[in-house]
Symmetry: C2
Subunit: 143 residues, 2 copies
Amino acid sequence: MLSKSSKYAIKAVLFLALNSNDKKKVMVKDISEPINVPQAYIAKLLQKLSRQNIISSSRGRKGGFYLSDNNRKQSIMSIIEVIDGEKNFNSCMLSLKECDEDKPCPLHKTLYPFKSNIIRNLESISIKELALEVELGNAFLPL
Amino acid sequence: MLSKSSKYAIKAVLFLALNSNDKKKVMVKDISEPINVPQAYIAKLLQKLSRQNIISSSRGRKGGFYLSDNNRKQSIMSIIEVIDGEKNFNSCMLSLKECDEDKPCPLHKTLYPFKSNIIRNLESISIKELALEVELGNAFLPL
DNA sequence: ACTAAAATATGATAAAAATCATTTTTAGGA
DNA sequence: TCCTAAAAATGATTTTTATCATATTTTAGT
Ligand code: FES
Ligand code: FES
């Protein structure tokens, strides 16, 4: 469904949403540990996200990663797209090709509606909203 | 979502549903080609399915793979379970662990309902039913 | 300016998934 | 009974994904 990498990335972004802002940057070391992901690995993912402006970063002394208010408005899907390249989601469930309404595979009819709903949800839910759920204690950040 | 292997396996089983029965066995070579999957690879998958009685086979001369009437009654999920080991489906969407209702991750609330519906569908739909859709021309076996 | 603390870039290694190749076993037919 | 065509078993290789290690910028503070 989601690659390990996007899972890691989402966790990291959520962690940043809860623990950072433009005044309070946090460095990889202090992200990787609580979310339980190898430091060098999450660093690479964060860099990718930063390059695509999903998250913010500043380097040098007193630098670190953080989320600006604008960053928080982005969707969860945008994270996945940057990391996995969205291919996972519009591919057909049986072939290796794209899903094709006109020539649907046998599983299309039953599964596609669900899949497209999942996509729609991931596209519409923002980082900020998800983080709020955690703050309210309705959801938990798993390690 | 589904591994390449389960996709291959489902295609192969569907092909057998359409082109074989206990009187008409078909050998790997004649399965792998039309469904466009490397012969040695699909052979391995078919063997696994056969061992778990999802499909039938007989060896030696005049042997081959085929689907008995009983085989056809099985669910699509049973194929996936044999090949992927079901792990893909009950794992949490954010952590590497199992999905946990009591301590749901932030994505659980939005995605789990869809996921469980997908699972329920895959469990309830039989090989025979899917094959019928193809016979009726409502669905297509992609290469 | 200089230094140290940070991200960034690049490339190497390890683990997992997919693919390929070879051998062994089984059973039908001469 | 012996040969041959088939699946089954085993193990090697390749490709992809995940992980690790090292060197290079950038920037705040002195
Ligand atoms: S065509 Fe296969 S999922 Fe849509
Ligand atoms: S706890 Fe993460 S999907 Fe259910």
